[in-house]
């Protein structure tokens, strides 16, 4: 599947909908994500941003529509394989009890890969936590925990990283730190990302394109600068 721009889409959502108890959480969402691109999703609270993100790694089942990953319908890919390729970092890190290294090793171990100490350390250094491997996760600060969640997701070498308000549970200082880290990681071009955020300025700093959601629908989309200038009229 080759797009009009001549670029092969990495991920393509087609008419994605999810209806729960008669309520449409997501309705007819169609969009494309290109390699190395960062796509922001913004919109008021309750507009369906998280619901959309959870459809992209099939943590929830679409009521209709589907997603193509590298041109392949994601329902034909095993959910575990799909989720290794499309990683997710949530608002809250949800670290597993144990050490930081245990958490970083978790994903690869599910695929039968045991990361070496060196590989773990390299991942931790990338997220700004060198030497943290043996620490118990219960004693981490909010910002450190979110960095571990990022390292844990990166350990699977995803093609797409889904980020659901990764800084909104943090204080200002930690928030700036995580955002700088994200800027770094995203610039590496190793993966594309879909970034859900409340913060329009953050969307403008990190993303190239943006989708605006309202009541489950994508109401505007396009290059970040145009869309956010045209109508930034939501809280």
């Amino acid at each position: 599947m080759v797009d009009t721009e001549g670029c092969v889409p990495l991920l393509r959502a087609v008419e994605l909908s999810r209806v729960v108890d008669g309520k449409a959480l997501v309705q007819g969402a169609t969009f494309t994500l290109y390699p190395r691109e960062v796509l922001a999703v913004v919109g008021p609270s309750g507009s369906g941003k998280t619901s959309l993100l959870r459809l992209l790694n099939r943590l929830d089942e679409p009521t209709s529509g589907t997603v193509y990953l590298n041109g392949v319908d994601y329902r034909t890919i095993s959910p575990r394989e799909l989720r290794r390729r499309v990683g997710l970092v949530m608002q809250v890190p949800y670290l597993f009890p144990g050490t930081v290294a245990d958490n970083v090793r978790f994903g690869p171990r599910q695929a039968g890969i045991i990361l070496s100490d060196k590989a773990v350390e390299a991942l931790l250094a990338r997220v700004g936590l060198p030497g943290y491997g043996d620490r118990d996760v219960t004693h981490l600060s909010g910002g450190e925990a979110q960095r571990v969640a990022l390292a844990r997701a990166l350990a699977n070498r995803p093609q797409v990283l889904l980020l659901d308000e990764p800084t909104s549970a943090l204080d200002e200082e930690a928030k700036a730190g995580i955002e700088a880290l994200l800027q770094d990681l995203l610039a590496s071009g190793e993966f594309a990302a879909v970034l859900v955020t409340h913060d329009l300025a953050q969307a403008a700093r990190l993303a190239q394109r943006v989708l605006v959601m309202e009541a489950g629908r994508i109401v505007r989309s396009g290059p970040v600068k145009e869309v956010l200038r045209a109508g930034s009229a939501f809280p």
């Binding site: 099939r58 089942e61 575990r80 990683g87 997710l88 597993f96 695929a111």
Partner: protein
């Protein structure tokens, strides 16, 4: 004194029941005299208890005379009712009744079968039915506790479970920590009762055998047999119930249900 007046054991038991009943009625009379307003409750409870327990005795008298198949039928019915009661504690866990019945059937039923085969449990119905029902009842309580706890764990740890799935974990790996917690919680009462056996309490079977004039050490061994069977059966039941239920919490596309 009563023994000499009533040599027939059935008659003796009835008179003993009468004597305790009269004592209770005297207390009820005092309550009425002193205007404490509990006389009605006492009298009604006494009447009910007497009728119920004698009825059960009469039914057992009838059942005990039947063939072994009757015992199997009775236990089968008990397992059905037990499954229903356990499922009521499942608070929306999917397929709770079926999972309860299957696991009680496997945990208690299979264990009872093996023990009957080995001769640890006698096939005489006066032994088979009460011992079997004790196993079933305890398995039921254990499944109730296990489901109740599993439900609580899943509610409290939905984020962790989905984080594991999102990292490519199988549903089994994602749910296992909470299955383990639920198993442990459901078995604690059983383990504790084994631990305190004979020290804090002299349980029913042993009491019965002692009252019946058995050798205390023989009674003790048999009581251990019962409590050990209860622990084994309950553990097997809870493990099966939790593993079955753990799988049913996820869709075929490995998504957590119950959102």
């Amino acid at each position: 004194m009563l023994v000499r007046l009533f040599p027939d054991p059935l008659m003796l038991a009835a008179v003993q029941a009468g004597v305790t009943g009269v004592c209770a009625l005297i207390v009820a009379y005092l309550a009425w005299r002193w205007e404490l307003r509990v006389e009605r409750e006492i009298v009604v409870a006494l009447g009910r208890g007497l009728v119920q327990v004698v009825l059960v005795g009469a039914v057992l008298l009838f059942i005990f005379q039947g063939p072994f198949a009757v015992g199997v039928l009775v236990l089968g019915l008990m397992i059905g009712v037990a499954g229903h009661m356990a499922a009521r504690r499942a608070q929306g866990l999917p397929d709770a009744f079926r999972v309860s019945v299957y696991s009680i059937l496997l945990g208690s039923g299979l264990l009872i079968g093996v023990m009957v085969g080995l001769g640890v449990i006698e096939t005489r119905l006066p032994v088979f039915i009460p011992v079997g029902s004790m196993l079933v009842a305890n398995s039921m309580t254990t499944v109730s506790l296990a489901f109740n706890r599993l439900r609580g764990e899943v509610d409290a740890h939905r984020g962790h479970i989905e984080a594991a799935l999102a990292l490519g974990a199988s549903p089994h790996v994602a749910i296992m920590p909470y299955v383990r917690a639920a198993l442990l919680a459901s078995l604690i009462p059983r383990v504790d009762s084994l631990r305190s056996l004979g020290i804090v309490w002299i349980p029913g079977v042993m009491t019965g055998m002692l009252l019946g004039g058995s050798h205390p050490v023989q009674a003790a061994f048999y009581q251990f047999v019962i409590v050990a069977l209860i622990l084994t059966g309950s553990a097997l039941t809870a493990m099966t119930a939790l593993l079955f239920m753990g799988r049913r919490l996820f869709t075929r596309a490995e998504q957590l249900r119950l959102r």
